[in-house]
Symmetry: C2
Subunit: 309 residues, 2 copies
């Protein structure tokens, strides 16, 4: 098939994608969907790029906690900061996303949106993955980049719907995924418009505004997009409601779960994982009509830098 999905192995998964796109985009199809309604949503961590040993934004926050620790002696006895400073990753993981939010509010509030962009942008431009010796932005999944392009070529509008910070994901979404900032939905902190040194700025506070995960994902979709997607891609329990919401609509639907079963090229994890835990999504996949994508069997390559096999 000359469909731009060269990194997907021929088989039922690739066929399901191509068939779905054909059904909604061919004018004579009984399931035709007008281009304006061809909304496709993608989780980011574990769906478009890797998330092991921990969410990459979590690794950024760990670096921030270390950098600011000298000014915060109280962190040596205050969780989740203590576990970061003691490199006690098991304890840190136990705090889950709540721990990540606490670190984000404590280390990224106060500055302006512009300052945040510079700070996180420099980190992304230089920090390297702990075991892969690659920039984090190199650890994106080649088959998913193809899928994004393939959908856009068929007049889909592609959105990221991430549990991660909206301003963090926006830094690289356009360059890496071709998704502009206005098509990124994510978690956010309360921001205020104020004047600093005679210039208006957007100032980040230390208060959570919206947590775009689990139940929050369909809410974030409604808030930002205002219509129900017809296609959704995720990998963890954080995506369950977004996948369910997508499948519960009328007409042709496609909802896929990327299954991390490739220990050689990526990482093997699903149930009870500190990042990207996927218990419910695997248990309820067939009931909800979700399609499991095996990274090991359905993808010819995982990362684009891999040599052609």
């Amino acid at each position: 098939m000359s469909d731009g999905l060269a990194l997907w192995r021929d088989g039922p998964i690739k066929t399901a994608i191509v068939d779905f796109v054909d059904r909604v985009s061919r004018q004579e199809s009984p399931q035709f969907v007008p281009p304006a309604q061809r909304i496709a949503v993608f989780d980011n961590d574990g769906t478009l790029w890797s998330e092991q040993p921990y969410y990459f934004q979590g690794l950024f926050l760990i670096d921030r906690v270390r950098t600011l620790a000298a000014d915060h002696p109280e962190w040596t006895t205050k969780q989740p900061f203590q576990s970061v400073l003691e490199k006690d990753w098991q304890t840190l993981a136990g705090f889950g996303t709540k721990g990540i939010i606490e670190m984000a509010l404590a280390t990224l509030g106060g500055m302006t949106s512009e300052e945040f962009e510079h700070l996180a942008g420099s980190w992304l431009a230089t920090a390297r993955h702990p075991t892969r010796d690659r920039l984090f932005t190199e650890l994106v999944f080649g088959p998913m980049l193809e899928l994004l392009r393939y959908l856009r070529e068929n007049e889909f509008k592609t959105f990221i719907v991430s549990g991660g910070g909206i301003e963090f994901v926006r830094i690289f979404s356009e360059q890496i995924y071709g998704i502009p900032p206005e098509q990124v939905v994510g978690s956010s902190i309360v921001t205020r418009y104020e004047v600093r040194d005679g210039k208006p700025v957007l100032a980040r506070t230390s208060q959570l505004n919206f947590f775009d995960d689990t139940d929050g994902k369909p809410v974030g979709i409604q808030q930002h997009i205002g219509r129900r997607p017809i296609a959704a891609f995720g990998n963890s329990d954080g995506d369950l409601q977004m996948l369910e919401w997508t499948m519960a609509g009328e007409g042709a639907r496609l909802a896929m779960v990327i299954h991390h079963d490739d220990g050689e090229r990526e990482f093997v994890y699903d149930r009870k994982s500190p990042a990207g835990r996927a218990d419910r999504v695997l248990d309820e996949a067939s009931e909800l009509g979700l399609t499991l994508v095996s990274m090991k069997n359905d993808w010819k390559r995982v990362y684009t830098f891999e040599s052609q096999s």
Copy 2:
């Protein structure tokens, strides 16, 4: 000029628009802006359609209060509801946008987003303007429709940034303005994802989520769009910060204030008006670099249904 701005009279205002668009979109221009960054934001009430004798969404809420009054005997002595039931418009106007929010939370919570869409959609399809005997969606400004199209033809992305409810504006934004729901920013109430009768729904609560007016407009822009606009159009003090934020960026900028000075074809109002009050925006226009558009002098027609003069 064959520029698609036929309803704009030749003169400095039309020239300012055409010059700005030329400067940012001509590849060889020193002020060239890549298409992805050509963000233009438009207030809705008083900028794209009329807002007299009162915000049209306010008129919808007044109808809602009347419809539900039988179930709420307490409203006969509780403001702002009392003033609605007594048709005491002066008192109602005194409650300002706070009164509108209270009415919205009391009369539009509890239902699902889909139910709201049906309810407000039916109202918009049938309710008529109190003095014009027209559907509200007919009272859109022809020159602004031309401007939206003209900007899009020059690869701008056009957004609505309204103090009104995001789900209300989305009902007609695509059909009337060619602006899809994902390009509408507005006020919102807290929405929850839940299951009703075995089906997942988005349920509106009675709690305010975000008030997209004054200081809130640049915040809403950052939250939904994630970049600073290069062009902004408003008409009232509610738009002041959005216009200021736009003009404070680097490079070519255009910020315009629609001045309601045409009593014959539309309505005359600006300072101390119950809807669309424009004291600060007029006082600070020259300091902020805002351009005043006279509806009377700069527009050949206001509404598209007017006979050609």
